[in-house]
């Protein structure tokens, strides 16, 4: 055999050393479930469903002082077809209950619901003919936030809890 240039084929042991050397810096290994869950909970898009006073605190949570954008949930979509989180912020009256259900049905899977405030969780102070005693009579709820209205920090806490829930229960 004549002494020629190095073989056109890469020397496998040297290459794999090179790759594994950089594996630690540039790659992470995980499961598909976890990646998809990470994508979902870090960019939840709430559907605009501010009904009453809680909506004002929800706006405050998106405002400059409390800044829900840090948690990825800043983009409030007006169309439920583009949203995956419904924050029911406020009291739901008898006339509004079918609308609530319809908006929930229009959201594509996967979707989550936060019942913000006492009125959405259980009817609040209004135990009467006009208010639905808790939105879980109409839609399934993932996180309940107490308060009347809940502080913006409480709403952020509920978003974080929901993120943990998604991480824990993620399946593709």
């Amino acid at each position: 055999m004549s002494p020629m240039a190095a073989s056109p084929y890469v020397d496998i042991p040297a290459l794999s050393d090179h790759i594994s050397g950089s594996l630690g810096h540039n790659f992470v290994t995980t499961t598909v479930d976890k990646v998809i869950a990470w994508g979902r909970y870090n960019s939840m898009w709430p559907a605009l469903f501010g009904l009453a006073c809680c909506a004002i605190e929800m706006m405050g949570t998106g405002g400059p002082k409390f800044d829900m954008a840090r948690f990825g949930a800043e983009v409030f979509r007006a169309s439920p077809r583009q949203a995956d989180l419904m924050i029911v912020a406020g009291r739901v009256s008898q006339k509004m209950a079918p609308v609530l259900r319809q908006i929930y049905d229009q959201m594509p899977e996967p979707k989550w619901v936060i019942a913000m405030g006492a009125c959405a969780s259980c009817g609040g102070v209004f135990n009467n003919y006009a208010i639905v005693q808790g939105v879980d009579k109409v839609v399934p709820v993932d996180v309940y936030v107490p308060g009347c209205p809940p502080r913006p920090e409480a709403l952020l806490d509920s978003v974080i809890k929901l993120q943990r829930k998604i991480r824990a229960t993620a399946t593709v």
């Binding site: 008898q94 003919y129 005693q133 879980d136 309940y144």
Partner: protein
């Protein structure tokens, strides 16, 4: 605070104008403290309101609200209440119209004031919705606050405002269909 003397003077002036232009409209003055009201006869209501609105001595051009009181045990059962504001005289006035209930379960009827003040239109719809008073001559009388197919008139005194019995956690039942079992414990 608005002085009581001002209110009495406004009442008197309104009564004078009405006695002159629509005689027989004012049936009485309700002067129970702290404020008074003019009791108006239902037949003369629309003319009386027009007079109060147009006469420069009164000038009640602004309708504040209209509603009704349900005196369940009293005959006549209802009192229609109208509160008006005069910007020129800087006074406010209350009119009350006793109204008997309809016979054998029918709804009572009263004349509509929506032609006198367009602002009264929605207030009369609300009175119809919540108290069950029908306003004749109203352009669009239908329910406004309750769903269109709601039965009953919630603000009537014989309407029971149902809610939900309060469940205490130490006595709650954890049956599969109870509301208590649906929330995730923390």
């Amino acid at each position: 605070m608005a002085a009581p003397r001002l209110e009495a003077a406004a009442l008197d002036r309104a009564r004078q104008v009405l006695d002159e232009i629509v005689p027989g409209a004012v049936t009485a003055i309700d002067d129970s403290p702290p404020e008074g009201a003019l009791l108006i006869d239902e037949q003369h209501l629309v003319d009386a309101c027009r007079a109060l609105r147009d006469d420069p001595r009164t000038g009640y051009t602004m309708p504040l609200f209209s509603s009704a009181l349900d005196w369940l045990e009293r005959e006549p059962r209802f009192d229609l209440v109208y509160q008006l504001r005069s910007l020129t005289q800087n006074t406010t006035l209350r009119l009350k119209v006793p109204l008997a209930d309809g016979v054998s379960g029918d709804l009572p009827h009263a004349p509509s004031l929506s032609a006198v003040w367009p602002g009264m239109e929605w207030h009369e719809r609300e009175t119809y919705d919540l108290l069950g008073v029908v306003f004749d001559g109203h352009p669009d009388l239908r329910r406004i606050l309750m769903p269109d197919d709601w039965e009953g008139h919630p603000l009537r005194k014989d309407y029971v405002s149902f809610g939900e019995p309060v469940l205490f956690t130490d006595r709650a039942s954890f049956a599969p269909d109870s509301a208590m079992s649906r929330g995730a414990p923390d």
